[in-house]
């Protein structure tokens, strides 16, 4: 359970006046450096892959949706590209313990990673960051994913479905090839799509699809490019009452240390410049200055 659950109201109590905590504000569990072995690499969403790697079981025991790992994306002995790349966990597997990441070749690091084959070894650091949290009384969850931003929302929706919550999962992509297959999500999840070119689902943005669900939802989650968050803010503002439901977003930043030491990954918030690898990458949309 997330550390911040201490603030959530447990079913059966009479006091409903306390504001549910919307994010786990600190990194949960100790981060570790370890070596993984690539187990499988499967194409998905056009040019992306699902990369599954082994993991020590101790790493999985505290893992929460929204957390990420910093992965070395070069051969041993090489210094380019130097810095590790952050990848949110798409799915965690128990037996044998493994982690799946969604990797789209975009730059040199991601292109290298997407070319790995089973048997190769990868340097890993994590789990890092805080996580999405599901307030115990939130039954109706609205999730919005843009492109590869869906990755942490897949892990989140798996958890929500396992807890018998009602999930509406909206995904936006440039075209049909960039969409997640419905089979990747749990059966009870209602899955809606939007494509820029109209090749599948709503022609336009995912944020246009979410309008009708804003007031239905107890909690909203979003992960995608930053312009999507600005649009989302504009779409939901007239539909919320007293800033409810709140929106948990996951922000993407280039990383150096991943542990809150270098301050290279900060997000500007109403509380100041916050390292997105410790008290992030999940933030309350109302606190982030975009």
């Amino acid at each position: 359970m997330p550390i911040a659950a201490a603030h959530c109201i447990e079913p059966g109590t009479k006091d409903f006046s306390v504001t549910p905590v919307t994010t786990s504000t600190e990194r949960t569990g100790a981060s570790r450096e370890f070596e993984s072995q690539v187990l499988s690499v499967e194409p998905i969403m056009g040019d992306a892959v699902l990369l599954t790697v082994s993991a020590p079981s101790g790493v999985l025991s505290h893992l929460q949706p929204g957390q990420f790992f910093n992965i070395v994306t070069r051969f041993s002995g090489s210094f380019d590209p130097l810095l590790r790349r952050p990848y949110s966990v798409y799915r965690a597997h128990r037996d044998p313990p493994a982690l799946t990441f969604l990797v789209r070749p975009f730059g040199r690091g991601s292109a290298w990673l997407a070319e790995r084959v089973p048997g190769e070894r990868l340097g890993m650091l994590g789990p890092l960051g805080n996580s999405f949290t599901i307030p115990s009384r939130a039954q109706r969850l609205l999730m919005i994913g843009g492109g590869v931003g869906v990755a942490p929302l897949v892990m989140l929706s798996d958890e929500a479905a396992a807890e018998n919550r009602d999930v509406v999962f909206v995904m936006g992509a440039a075209d049909e090839a960039g969409l997640l297959a419905a089979s990747e999500l749990a059966d009870r999840v209602e899955y809606l799509v939007a494509t820029d070119d109209g090749s599948r689902g709503h022609r336009g943005l995912a944020t246009e699809v979410v309008r009708e669900f804003v007031q239905w939802a107890d909690q909203i989650y979003a992960c995608g490019p930053e312009p999507m968050y600005r649009t989302l803010r504009a779409v939901i503002e007239p539909l919320r009452i007293n800033r409810r439901p709140s929106v948990q977003i996951s922000v993407e930043r280039g990383m150096a240390c991943g542990l809150g030491a270098c301050l290279g990954c900060v997000v500007e918030t109403t509380h100041g410049m916050i390292a997105s690898c410790v008290k992030g990458p999940v933030f309350d949309l109302d606190e982030v200055i975009l």
Partner: protein, 328 residues
Amino acid sequence: MTKADLSVDLAPANPHELRLQNPVIAASGCFGYGEEYAGVIDISRLGAFVSKGITPARRSGNPMPRIVESPAGMLNAIGLQNPGIHGFVKKYPPMWAKWTVPAIVNISAESVNDYAMMAGILDEQPAIAAIEINVSCPNVAHGGYCFGWDPDMSAEVTRAVRSATTLPIIVKLSPGASDIVSVAVAVEEAGADAISLINTLVGMAIDVRRRRPLLANHTGGVSGPAVKPIAVRMVYQVAAAVRVPVIGMGGIMGLNDALEFFLAGATAIQIGTGIFVDPGLPIRLIDDLAGWLDDEGFSSLEQIVGIANDGFRLGQRPMLADWESVGV
């Protein structure tokens, strides 16, 4: 099977001493205040760590982007985000008092008085093993010219800090100085117990798509393997010209890199960027160094310091090359 002695004394003339169990130090800006890495590596094994740079006032730092990758390295323009001297002393010395690893505080300021002010405050704190003075800062009284580029300005800062504290003082030199040896000699004369180098080089990267600098600050400090040859050369030159211990840093990613610095004349080393990509590096390096010394038949680290440097501690300015060998 005897294990080589890795211990080093970085302030032999200072009554406080700065004796470290080994020569591997985590560099400022790359290790936070120690707590960030405490769950990931066994920090008690480090020779010491240097905290993030502290300034007189609280600073929120630069806008993003603050970091950019560069060939075999990176640029950073964090902007010295830190709680300020008063916020710092409330939280960190009490925390460090419970640890065994020596903690060195890095200080940055824009006036001689501010350096002295912070040193005076730190002089009264528990659990601080030494002060590292970052002179790669603009001297506001002189048009923002960098202290570290001028021997006299660097000496003035060192003297002011020396007057304000009895703690061991390390002066961290800037590679931007046109003559880093003059700066090193000047700060030694002014009372530095040790000298560390190099700080980052000033660099830039441009986003070809947006046609703008990639860093919000435009320029940033270059670090990582790319800077190693420059760092080794400067350590070599400085270690010949001064007699105080020299602490070398710049792109150390493994044993061979570390050895280059020791052989050039460094008594200790700092690891900065290397820790980001390889948190296990400092501790692995300590073990690898001990193993190498044993294999090579050395009984202590001291025995290899400066042995590749003909001018080591001779107080001379070594001529690195003649025109013919340079190919001119």
